[in-house]
Amino acid sequence: MTTLAKAASPEDIAAQPVVKADRKVQPYWNPYLAGVGLGLVLLAAFVIMGRGLGASGAFTSLVSVGVNAVAPEHAKFNAFFSEYLGDGTHHPLKEWLVFEVIGVLVGGFISGSLAHRIKGTVEKSPRISIRGRMMFAFVGGILMGFGAKLARGCTSGQALTGGALLGVGSWAFMLAVFAGGYAVAYFFRRQWT
């Protein structure tokens, strides 16, 4: 918290000479401390809203709106998209999860800025090319989107939220995520190690 307060001070930032462009990147928080913070945010969602966190649902709203814009008839007769489009009483993007995910982007940016971690880069091992890594990122995203829909939620909505609420499906899901990851990690080691 002390480092956060220090970095947040506007005089501090203003006092920095402009030439000092490469400010020192701060270390990440202790994982248990970050975990408690995350847990308290989740608890706040339970207490204030009576629901947990999520992420993939917001993207489903986005996709449904996109499909509806291009092919409204098609979207209407698809039970999956039409559920996310709703009954027309409010705009399908005026969803709780959509606003929450916009917050996630902002919150991530704030934390990253305060710790001087905003940098245009590609996360990968030196053993793989940028092109290769970008291809894997795209394919991984496709699998993630598909899997999250089949499981009715992702790491946020199922593992974190459902885990804390002791949901049976959520715990089965969580074990399956780790099992799936460890099962194939060896084959993709060049990308990360």
Binding site: P31, I48, G141, M144, L165, V184
Partner: protein, 198 residues
């Protein structure tokens, strides 16, 4: 007993969207603080060199679970009004396996890829595009998948109900399991990070 506040009508839908935005900021902030804007750090969980994903996730689960338990014991939160998602066992296990594979290949999950994209990671941005395509494919295939998607329905069943245990006992057991897991994670990290980190 007057929480969850939204369910007791303390504020309406419009305000709830502002609440969503603020809660999202907190969510994104702590994800980034933990280092989850970095695909390499996230993926390291699967190579046993950095167990941060496990530690953060289970600390968060335990914190929220224990907090909610005591708030319900003291009669502050009405647990029956907190939404527990329905269990569809087999599709959720299959979905979880696919998602786990996607995690290792892509390096992120949906929430963490937002944080990665917001902090400038190009792979995180591409990954978000992949998620959109994956959801689109699922939606287009939905008529074929619907039977499987709704199979093995168990309702919103919880672990205490499944094992016939009290809520408090199960919370206690999960805490014990997590503490054991943390000790194990520290040990694994020490054992496997030797030589890989300077």
């Amino acid at each position: 007993m007057n929480a969850p506040y939204f369910k007791f009508g303390y504020f309406g839908d419009e305000i709830s969207l502002i609440v969503a935005f603020v809660i999202g900021i907190g969510f994104g902030f702590f994800l980034e603080r933990a280092g989850f804007g970095s695909g390499r750090k996230l993926a390291a969980q699967f190579y046993l060199t950095d167990m941060t994903v496990f530690k953060v996730m289970f600390t968060a689960i335990v914190t929220a679970m224990v907090g909610l338990f005591w708030l319900s014991v003291f009669g502050i939160v009405d647990l029956s009004l907190v939404y527990v998602s329905q269990t569809y066992l087999v599709p959720q296990i299959v979905g979880g396996l696919i998602l786990g594979v996607g995690f290792v290949i892509g390096g992120y999950c949906p929430g963490t890829s937002c944080v990665a994209a917001a902090t400038g990671k190009y792979d995180g941005m591409i990954y978000l595009g992949g998620i959109v395509v994956g959801i689109f494919i699922f939606g287009e295939m939905f008529p074929l998948l619907e039977n499987f998607y709704t199979s093995t329905a168990m309702g919103s069943v919880t672990l205490p109900e499944l094992f016939g245990m009290s809520y408090g006992l199960l919370v206690f057991l999960v805490v014990l399991m997590a503490l054991g897991g943390f000790a194990g994670a520290e040990w694994v990290e020490k054992k496997f990070s030797k030589g890989t980190s300077q």
